[in-house]
Amino acid sequence: MSLTKERKGFFGRLSERIGDALFMRQKIDEDMMDEIEEILITSDIGMDTTEKIMNELREYIKDNMITLPKNIKKGLTDIIIRLIDKGDRNKLSDKTPLVIMMIGINGGGKTTTIAKLGHKLKEEGKTVMFAAADTFRAAAGEQLAIWGDRIGVNTVMHQEGADPSAVIFDAIQSAKAKGIDVLICDTAGRLQTKKNLMTELEKMNKVVSREYPEADRETLLVLDATNGKNAISQAKEFNEVAELTGVVITKLDGTAKGGIAITIADEFDMPIKYLGVGEGMEDLEEFNAEEFAGGIFNE
């Protein structure tokens, strides 16, 4: 399928709008500050983070005695970088063996992200295996297995309705036996408010810790860029049961800004690792704070 892709992503589009807000104006006034605030809010950056950014921006303007709108761009860029740059933690672990758990709410893009990541790791020369531990959703295993076939990765799969922990158990044994570098586990989508499903996730994690203590771990929360404030509650609850190591923001090829990730990076000190920018296996980008923030005001 050929998607007419707009790969500008979050910062590209934010930048255009902030660029307009700044460059169309002659002086810094409350009107301009309101407009910047509006842009942040409509990008789904949470209310608290927006307030924080605005306060820091006001201080920056005062401390540096800035009078021209165009000169505040560096301040704004730096403030946002400070919120999202987590250094090396923005990168996926390079150690092997590695077990990656992909978790998140329904329909966010977990399975597709696994395909993209599997493809990427394979291209880097690693051996990869998938575990189809979503045994709940209709044809979830088939979906992952078809992706696996496309990119040349084996998928360990049980029947619909099987115990997801049992799939993980089997996949670990198989990965060990075959000396696989990276095992990526798909899990069923679940809303963070569903207690029993969250407990099920805990159980899967325990199986990994018990059966594969020598493996390094990544637990990635898949966040849909179209999501608004609810993503904060998602990050909080999933982190509590699964000790997240980072987030992947999907669907950034659409018109959603995904700004909620900035709030999550800030509030939970959570690194963003990848960005999903389409439905194909190549549509995954590594996150780089400087690069993105640097592009905020590309003129």
Binding site: E38, Q143, N230, A256
Partner: protein, 307 residues
Amino acid sequence: MAFESLSDKLQGTFKVLKNKGVLTEKDVDEAMRQVKLALLEADVNFKVVKEFVADVKEKCLGEEVMKSLTPAQQVIKIVNGELTDLMGGEGAKLEYDPAGFTVIMMAGLQGTGKTTTCGKLANFLKESGKKPMLCACDVYRPAAIDQLEVVGKAVNTPVYTDRKSKDPVKIAKAAKKEAELKGFNVLIVDTAGRLQIDEELMAELENIKDKVKPYQILLVVDALTGQDAVNAAKGFNERLAIDGIIMTKMDGDARGGAALSARKVTGKPILFMGTGEKYDALEAFHPDRMASRILGMGDMLSLIESA
């Protein structure tokens, strides 16, 4: 919980209002600021909020309110009433083609819940005495056809598929013919998720609409959606002139402000809400209850009643 404090704040604001005998414009301003924050926290679109607050404020500053013996209650009533109106007032129902055979087409962004909702609708239709058939027109997502088949089986509804075809228009046309021939009276067409800015895939939906003439085009919107809900809803409505909205994933702790925004920018009613992954988790949509949920107003309503 993120919203509890806000709902508390709001209730606090309204309580302050309530304790005041007379209201000044400044009191109303402060209350409106809180309402605005509450709506933004609930992911209602920024522009929708701005307009809403301006409208409410104008009404509140009207003479009858300010001079009333219980101005605060009037303000709360206005907010709640306007919000309910914005959500669709009385509410609306799914409509059937009077000619006897109804085609329903599902549309929406990726992963919103279209395929699952197809199953829920089939289940609902059967309970309403209809004879539905499903049709698999997502030829892109891996295992999308398998998924609909599993769904169909679960709700005892036949699914029309053509695994050899990559042409959703052709598939939908053939399905319609077969459904009519076999005596079904509703055909539910599942389509692939797509971005409203995806020219090619939006044209494909227009094409299905042209050739298959769905009586109801339903936009499936995820309740967790943030500010983008207006862009998606507007985009789909402009291209397809949708007939109604289904709000999914309402079983979580989402405030569902997206519902309000989608309804506002399209002017189309929200017909159902999805409240779980099972096929009976579909409920009629009640604008008044949604209004309360968005503002976290359960307790506030009792405030009004005690007035």
